[in-house]
């Protein structure tokens, strides 16, 4: 049962073949069995989940209407605020932080009658590409437990891949949904910036952060996006629906795009491992067979995406994370002798190494005398990258490229080499800088049986098109249906 997709589970529930409680119980059994090995969850809520499931069962039995996610067990990354449990961001500094409010997406999940089973592990404050920066837990890749699940949404991706939930919400600032989805052979969607409310998502890089679904299939991704998308008056950066109308992303999902025009950036793709490139070009061959036309384009500014990203994201992070000071909430050092030391010692003890590194980078980039050379320059590069995309999208429907240059790497392999680690995000970062939607879809395995993903990018607010393009591929392949041996 735990190998069904969310949509299949929904059908099974509405056909009366399984109750919501049974579905939740099975998931918790799977969690009990596997999570001691996988380490996907920071916290789980069996009592609350079963109670909610029972409530939904009662409503179904009495013929009352239920939401589109009725009874579906889902996980959320532990950087989304909930009134139940702690919201830790996998950091010591928030280990015991209990939010007094629910993030907008959490409210939306609950309103859709999803059953939230737990809060999943991540790199501390979403800073990382392997989930090794979690201060609270180690998550491994279900396909090879000696390897990382990718990051920063490693917990949600591993949970979906190992059957510890049917769908999950992650957040993506520079690839944090797509990279772990690629490493774990699941579907990861980063919607357009502004499509999903950020209210209640603990900020890392505010102009880049976006919440999105991690699911087993493209259809499940559409199902989840239907629930979480939309304008939120509490988030000024969420888009007005009159400007960018919403649609039912499931409605035309199975209709292929005719005469699809795919752009590829050969010089950029050449940086990926041979096997990753092969899988990408095989996927493109399949699209060609479906009638797609492929054009080669040049996007010169993509080479500067990583540099610009690590200035902009860290600058925003240095400011966003200033509030964790031990004064108002969160971890406070007991060695502080005055208020300055409350700040310095609480932060020194509460934050992990990578978080501190990024705070220092960002602080430096915003400092007087360096602002123009770093932050302002990075913003200019960001604009040039946006321009690159706008130009290319005039002649194509989508761009395809790898999700990451390699498949999942060994635990500990890159953790002491931040620059190499940062390069894991080389293919995902540009979508965040441009604010456009992008999806990672399973497209094969390397010789070590490690998953490979293909990344598809489309213009802002064209998630409907993006999902249909992804679905065209998924409909012709069965990569997404493969399960990690551990979960069988």
């Amino acid at each position: 049962m735990e190998h069904l997709t969310a949509l299949e589970l929904r059908k099974t529930i509405s056909a009366g073949q399984i109750s919501c409680v049974e579905a939740a119980e099975e998931i918790f059994q799977q969690i009990d069995r596997l999570d001691p090995i996988i380490g996907a969850y920071i916290s789980t809520y069996p009592h609350q989940a079963l109670k909610n499931a029972a409530d939904i069962d009662r409503r179904i039995a009495s013929g009352q209407p239920v939401g589109p996610l009725a009874g579906i067990p889902v996980a959320i990354k532990d950087n989304m605020c909930t009134t139940f449990g702690a919201t830790t961001c996998a950091s010591k500094i928030l280990e015991n932080f209990y939010a007094p409010y629910n993030a907008t997406v959490v409210e939306k999940l609950l309103a859709a009658d999803a059953v939230i089973v737990g809060k999943a592990n991540m790199d501390e404050f979403a800073m990382g590409s392997s989930t090794e920066n979690s201060a609270l837990k180690t998550t491994v890749n279900p396909w090879d437990t000696t390897r990382v699940p990718g990051g920063s949404s490693g917990g949600p991706a591993a949970a979906v891949a190992a059957g510890l939930c049917y769908a999950a919400l992650g957040s993506d600032t520079g690839g944090s949904i797509r990279l772990p989805a690629g490493f774990c052979s699941v579907v990861g969607l980063k919607p357009t910036y502004g499509r999903v409310s950020r209210y209640g998502l603990v900020a890392y890089g505010s102009s880049l952060d976006q919440i999105g679904p991690i699911t087993r299939t493209v259809a499940d991704s559409a199902l989840m996006l239907n629930v979480i998308a939309g304008h939120d008056p509490a988030d000024s950066t969420s888009i007005d629906e009159n400007v960018a109308p919403l649609c039912d992303y499931l409605e035309k999902l199975d209709e292929p795009i005719e005469k699809l025009r795919i752009a590829i950036v050969p010089h950029f793709n050449a940086g990926a491992d041979r096997q990753v490139q092969n899988a990408l070009y095989e996927a493109i061959e399949l699209y060609k067979k479906l009638g797609a036309q492929v054009i080669e384009v040049d996007m010169p500014y993509l080479d500067y995406a990583i540099a610009a990203y690590y200035v902009i994201a860290t600058a925003e992070a240095s400011s966003n994370l200033a509030r964790y000071d031990g004064v108002h909430y969160g971890y406070r050092s007991d060695r502080a002798r005055d208020y300055i030391e409350v700040y310095s010692k609480s932060r020194a003890e509460g934050f992990g190494k990578e978080v501190k590194r990024r705070i220092m980078l960002g602080t430096y980039a915003l400092s007087s005398g360096y602002y123009d050379a770093y932050y302002l320059k990075a913003l200019k590069v960001r604009n040039l990258i946006r321009g690159d995309f706008a130009r290319v999208f005039q002649e194509c429907d989508c761009i395809m490229m790898p999700v990451s240059p390699t498949t999942a790497f060994k635990m500990g392999e890159k953790i002491d080499d931040p620059l190499t680690m940062y390069l894991s995000d080389i293919y995902t970062i540009a979508a965040n800088l441009a604010g456009i939607p992008a999806i990672s879809v399973p497209c094969g395995f390397d010789q070590n049986d490690l998953p490979i993903g293909v990344q598809i990018l489309t213009p802002a607010f064209t998630e409907d098109r993006l999902l249909r393009i992804a679905r065209m591929f998924e409909a012709q392949t069965d990569w997404h249906a493969k399960k990690p041996p551990i979960a069988k």
């Binding site: 605020c81 998502l201 505010s206 102009s207 000024s236 400011s319 004064v327 108002h328 208020y339």
Partner: protein, 488 residues
Amino acid sequence: MDHLQYKVVVGLEIHVQLCTKSKMFCSCAVEFGQPPNSRVCPVCLGMPGVLPVMNKQALEYAVLVGLALNCEIAAFTKWDRKSYYYPDLPKNYQISQYDLPLSAGGFIEIPLESGKSKTIRIIRAHLEEDAGKNLHTAGNFSQVDLNRAGTPLLEIVTEPDMNTAAEVRALAVELQRMVRYLGVSEADMQKGHMRFEPNVNLIIAKDGIEYRTPIVEIKNLNSFRALEKSIDYEVSRQIDEFFETGKTLETGTKSTRGWDDVKEVTVLQREKEDAPDYRYFPDPDLVPVQLSKEWLEEIKSRLCELPIHKQLRFVNEYGLNDYDAGVLTADRSTAEYFEQVVAQGGDAKRACNIITQDLLKLANEKGCTVVGLRIPANHIAQLCKMVVMGVASATAATTITTIMSGSPDKPPEVIARERNLIQKSDVGELEAVVDQVLAENPKAVEDVTSGGKKSSKACGFLLGQVMQKTKGQANPKVVSEILAKKLE
């Protein structure tokens, strides 16, 4: 020292709290004197994951002041983060405006004692959020009250165009009157609604050379008196310091001094060797504000005649003296009330006397405004007519207004009749009384007609007798005329 020539140079930084219903970036009520931390929410507490949403009313209030200060209003304005660590600042950054303030380049006219006015240039006025308050009353630890955190604050910066303490005070008073007229702030200095921070230095001429003393910023000023006194104190202190140390703007350092209201001195708080680095950068959580022409016009339509112009017009149009016009225009509703009384036929000078002498006193006793007495303007206009026509004496008018303040709906004629306060001016009726008095007091009549020393005293006696006989209701002016005629 005998021929010491110096010029005082003062610029002001002013913070005005806007009296919006809710805070700048959340929906918490703006209310003071409430229990600590009772007017707070996740947003103004700077909880993880929260986002600010701009209060439109605050922006409109700020634009209104900008217009009144003759500033250029920016069609495009944005929000910036100003970073510094302090326990009363929950996010450890303040949302403010840095390089694109909503208004800039204006001026304010301030009245001088000579009856003239002076123009002080305004550099800029921008919106920001206020911080909370640190309380140090709990023994060996401090407490933080965040009720004030997030209150909309307008920061106004003037050019150093003021050259005396009196001018500084005049600007402060004028600005207070202005923001109250516009209805955008209660502007109570004691309550911290208005905070003035003067920057003071001197240009001293010595041996034909001009020296500038180091600039001092004065803080902790919570009354107009303190504002004025602190500048006077600084002037003499800076003269002394200059002759002791010879330090100038170039060789000395800028410092901040706090005003001690008890000792009436300024005390050194800190010397700024380096300007603090606030690491300003655009707030990615807020969208820039585009002020359309239509919106600006709509706000413009809410502008009113400014107090200084109203005061001048009252002098020219109604022949009032500058002092009375100043008293009437101190409060907008009182000034408008005065004009309503005049419009309903009340004589301007009479109306001015009744309002400034009787009604203001009654209002002060009741702790309300003149309008707050709720006496209809046409009743006061009626009362003015009664006084002018001699139906009521000035003394009776005072009695009548006192009664009106208790029963505001009662017309003055009714009160006058009920209380026998109607003055008798009928010559025929009064002649009869005069004749009777003359017949009863032959000695006094003789004293008058014989002229000499006793004449005027006797005349007064006869008048008194007539008043007594008429129970004080005779119009003394008419009686005197009759007496004079009869005793020619």
